[in-house]
């Protein structure tokens, strides 16, 4: 052993100090350096992964929102069109209905007016007839009164009237 160079023979003192030094540096690194370093790197990696994931999700959400808003807009437009259409239909309906109602009412009014006119006419006619009868009675009375003054004639006339009445009966 002693013929070998010293670097080829293990030396107790050197091993002793080396073990001590290595244990100290191992202890320090084990306790204070490597755990925090490796943990930080792993945490950062997870953090980046999460961030990417959430960014992707947000993007997806945004895209969804866009699609949804477009859909909503489209629906709204359709609804608007529908509402306008139905409003137009209702308007037309109302107008039509009003027109027909007005016609019916008009017709009714006209027929009633006609009836009244008829009734008025009847009354007027009856009135006129009464007056005509009265007038003709008065005329007849006057005529009769004047002709009665002539006896013969009177006799004859009475006779004829009687005849007429009998015949009429």
């Amino acid at each position: 052993m002693q013929n070998l160079p010293s670097i080829l023979t293990p030396d107790f003192g050197l091993i002793f100090w080396m073990s001590l030094a290595f244990l100290i540096i191992l202890g320090v690194l084990y306790k204070f350096v490597f755990p925090i370093l490796i943990k930080s790197v792993e945490d950062r990696k997870n953090y980046i992964d999460e961030s990417l994931k959430s960014a992707r999700e947000a993007n997806e959400k945004l895209a969804n929102i866009k699609v949804e808003s477009e859909k909503l807009l489209k629906e709204a437009r359709e609804q608007q069109a529908e509402i306008i259409q139905s409003a137009m239909a209702t308007r037309d309906d109302i107008i039509k209905k009003a027109r027909s109602e007005a016609q019916v009412e008009g017709a009714k009014l006209i027929s009633e007016a006609k009836k009244q006119i008829e009734a008025e006419k009847e009354i007027a006619l009856r009135d006129i007839r009464g007056q005509v009868a009265e007038l003709s009675l008065q005329v007849a009375e006057k005529v009769v009164r004047r002709q009665i003054e002539n006896d013969t004639e009177q006799e004859r006339f009475i006779q004829r009237l009687l005849d007429e009445v009998v015949v009429n009966k």
Binding site: I7, D11, I25, R44
Partner: protein, 354 residues
């Protein structure tokens, strides 16, 4: 841009020559043959002092480190290694450095080594590396404490460390051991990776705060292999032990003579052993090549300055190349050690296969 590159290259060569000039003078003055093997091994070995440079006239500039040894008849003593140089016979309190026996401390009158836990050059280097690792990682940990997840990823230095840690954690440890069990082993493997990596890099710096050959010392790689061995075998599950002692092979291969179990049992020890040798030999080899190339400069200048100059430039260029390669090797070896440890630990957690 290209012109700047050329300028840098010329500057490098010039500065190289400038550095060589005093060396040449020194070589001419000293004129003693250089023992290459001794020089290389000396640079790579552990020592009780940190030799910084040798001034002219053999004046050494060193940092003297504390020696901590135990007398054979009891009692620990602590003293500076400078004390060895103060007395005439290079002893202090009965202790002396025996150059013939690996330059270790021995006690007078005893043949065996005393208990010796001296703060040697490698130990100082190890503690410097620990300090560097703390300086790297504590600010990182503080950054994570101060910031919340929403603040985002760190930038700059902390970001670089995070990328390095997470790539080792995810690509090496998690994929080798498996999603289920890796958390328990990750701190050890990460610490081992960064310790080996920092130590390898510091070993490449040729002057004071670095330069000690730590991972190229078998004691260190032995300890790493030992820890991996414990990590593999202490927490191996039932399936793992069954595969060793009763592997799924034809009965003849395991029943009368337990051939396969013996081989498998042997494998338990060869795996960490391979780890130990691989890291040790790779780092040692790199250091040895760089030191050898440095020695080329001194040897050739001893022969003649005319031969020395071109060869020195060549070896200088080679040294730059080797240093770049060693930078790569420093990472690769730390990576390979971590990966193989993780693979072996993963093998100790086999899933039930039907």
């Amino acid at each position: 841009m290209k012109k700047t590159k050329n300028n840098i290259f010329i500057y490098l060569i010039l500065s190289c020559l400038l550095f060589l000039a005093p060396t040449q003078l020194l070589a001419n003055e000293v004129k003693e043959p250089i023992d290459v093997k001794e020089a290389i091994l000396g640079h790579m070995s552990d020592a009780y002092e940190w030799h910084i440079t040798t001034w002219a006239n053999h004046k050494h500039i060193s940092i003297y480190l504390p020696v901590i040894v135990k007398h054979h008849d009891g009692g620990w003593v602590v003293f500076s290694s400078e004390r060895f140089h103060e007395s005439a016979d290079h002893t202090y309190d009965g202790f002396y450095i025996d150059e013939a026996r690996q330059g270790k401390v021995y006690e007078k009158g005893y043949e065996d080594r005393p208990w010796d836990i001296s703060i040697t050059k490698d130990v100082v280097q190890i503690w410097i590396n620990v300090a560097i690792m703390l300086l790297i990682f504590i600010p990182c940990a503080r950054w994570y404490k101060k910031h919340r997840i929403e603040d985002g990823a760190p930038k700059g230095f902390v970001g670089m460390i995070e990328v390095l840690v997470m790539s080792i954690n995810d690509d090496v440890i998690k994929s080798s051991i498996g999603e289920k069990h890796y958390r328990k082993y990750a701190p050890y493997l990460l610490t081992a990776f960064f310790f080996i990596f920092v130590t390898n890099l510091m070993g490449l710096i040729p002057f004071f705060p670095g330069g000690a050959n730590v991972t190229g010392n078998i004691s260190i790689t032995f300890l790493f292999a030992m820890m991996t061995f414990i990590a593999i075998n202490l927490f191996g599950n039932k399936e793992y032990w069954k595969e060793i002692f009763w592997p799924e092979v034809p009965l003849a291969m395991k029943c009368p003579i337990p051939l396969m179990p013996v081989i498998e049992l042997f494998g338990i020890f060869t795996k960490p052993f391979a780890l130990m040798i691989r890291l040790f030999a790779n780092m040692l080899g790199g250091h040895a090549i760089i030191l050898s190339l440095t020695c080329v400069i001194f040897i050739t200048f001893q022969v003649s300055a005319y031969i020395g100059t071109p060869l020195s430039i060549l070896s200088f260029v080679m040294m730059i190349f080797m240093n770049c390669l060693e930078l790569l090797v420093a990472f690769i070896q730390a990576y390979v050690f971590t990966m193989l440890s993780a693979v072996f630990i993963g093998l100790a957690h086999p899933e039930h296969h039907h």
